[in-house]
Symmetry: C2
Subunit: 329 residues, 2 copies
């Protein structure tokens, strides 16, 4: 199962001051043809199969080179030797490591990343890299069923990014749809209507894209979650819609809720989009972040206008809070 058998712009990745060589090319290709996490020795064996005159030292040296080039990532599963996994077009992730069959599975959790960041801040620690490894026994080993062969995490990431984007779009649609019925100011109603129809448009585009993604690998749809993000699972606007449902939400409050939702989703998509290497998932996130930002700006503009209209005496930015903030312990 070749995952990303060839790298189109490999020359671009070549670390400065290094030359090309047929041996290393072979080793790199053998590595790229594999999936999952190989030890240096695995790679030696695989390479020797193609050309037995390649020495162990060269494989080690090529592995270092690939790390520098951003093709390979060194991971430590605590068994006394390092493994290497693809890092080109392969999202950062965490690991589930089965001690029975020694297979490892990848996942990513934005929720965990957020908490890790909070811990780092609380401890005044500048985090550069986080390792999360769950050791235990995998489904296949526990239940005795056959293990599914792995699907490229890059695709799974794109799938989950799209699912989140779609859920957000859907909840956004619902939010603005409800907003239209709720707000009283005619201009505000117009704005909400505009945003609602925009969400419908986006939703269609995203769903088409999702269908196209599925064509790349039919197994994609049935695989378990790769990207865990509770907050976005139901769409980032569902909390907002919930708030609209409550009584006593006036136009300004509706705007504020919208602003909060758009800001939250803009931040989420931007932040995660930026973290990743070039990938479909990254593109989805960043495009989405852009859209949310536009909405956000529009909402803020309109909110300010409406504030002025209601109390033209005060031009300053007096921010009204809907709820008092809580302090963390």
């Amino acid at each position: 199962m070749a995952s990303s058998a060839a790298i189109p712009d490999l020359d671009r990745l070549r670390p400065p001051g290094t030359k090309r060589s047929s041996k290393r090319d072979l080793i790199v290709n053998v590595f790229l043809k594999q999936e999952g996490h190989l030890s240096a020795d695995d790679l030696v064996v695989l390479t020797k199969r193609e050309d037995h005159r390649i020495s162990r030292a060269t494989v080690y040296r090529s592995l270092q080179w690939m790390e520098e080039a951003g093709i390979a990532r060194k991971v430590d599963f605590g068994d006394g030797r390092f493994r290497f996994e693809h890092s080109y077009r392969h999202p950062r992730h965490f690991h589930l490591i089965c001690k029975t069959c020694n297979r490892s599975y990848e996942f990513l959790s934005s929720d965990i990343e957020v908490l890790v960041e909070e811990v780092a801040v609380a401890r005044a620690f500048t985090a550069r890299q986080t390792v999360v490894q769950i050791y235990g026994s995998c489904d296949a080993c526990t239940s005795g069923t056959a293990a599914e062969d792995p699907v490229n995490s890059e695709l799974l990431f794109a799938r989950d990014a799209l699912r989140i984007a779609i859920a957000t779009e859907r909840s956004g649609m619902e939010f603005y749809g409800r907003g239209v019925k709720l707000v009283t100011d005619p201009r505000a109603r117009e704005i909400f209507r505009k945003l609602a129809t925009e969400e419908v448009q986006h939703l269609k585009t995203l769903e088409k894209r999702y269908q196209e993604l599925l064509k790349q690998d039919a197994r994609l749809e049935s695989r378990p979650t790769f990207l865990f993000f509770k907050g976005a699972a139901n769409g980032l606007f569902s909390a907002g819609t919930e708030q609209l449902r409550r009584n006593g939400v006036d136009d300004l409050e509706a705007y504020r809720i919208g602003i909060r939702c758009e800001r939250g989703s803009h931040r989420f998509f931007k932040r995660y989009g930026e973290k990743f290497e070039d990938s479909e998932g990254k593109r989805i996130f960043l495009e989405f972040a852009g859209e949310e930002r536009e909405h956000l700006e529009l909402l803020i503009r309109e909110y300010r206008l409406l504030v002025k209209k209601h109390r033209p005496q005060k031009a300053g930015k007096s921010r009204a809070r809907s709820k008092p903030r809580r302090h963390s312990a």
Copy 2:
């Protein structure tokens, strides 16, 4: 800074079929006198200082023995050699690892543990152990200030357990206090009053205990958070109190909110309490879990009585939900 210089019941821990030996006793004592994470070589050096005739192999063998005995825990910081940390009366934890000074710092996050469990469930993975390591640069190295010497994590854990318990007690007090004013049924009012005064009593006990803990190590109060648990940071009843504040809460609903809070805190304290080795923190958690359970049972009993009183026609357990449940994606 001896952390737990001697282990009272070391004989109890001795793995079966092993004999006592003066050499190993010495190595174990040297290990226990240290704080933090030592490499095998560190321990060799330290041991040779006491008795230079002790060989490297014996130190390695003793380290294995200590692991089996539950005195030492092997940790891998990815630099090609294992470290060992105390595991007797030392809570499981995660690590912040400074790549500049090679010091490491401990923390625990129930929040992260919960998420990790959710990931494991979603992937049908049976988790046995979780490693969370944040690599980067510590406060001392980044800001150039002197590093504080480490405080025993067992004590920090107890401190944070107590702080959480106190916060929960406080919020519980507030909850029942508000409940007394709110409920209309005389018996319900009596129950809420009883619980409110109980919380006040517990609070006093806990605060005394907290003061006693501080006496053990004066630096304890000023150290940063060891145990991160957002949900409990403001007390597990604060969400409930918030709900009481809203209009339209009748007696039954007040009971239901109370039940939800008590159940949540019971679960939290029980679950975390059970996970730990014998320790002050564990005891605090388990005692607390017991108290919450009693309250929980009382509330459930009273709730059922009140339900019967209101609609005596239906005796079955018709569970009313205050809100529809959300589905996760």
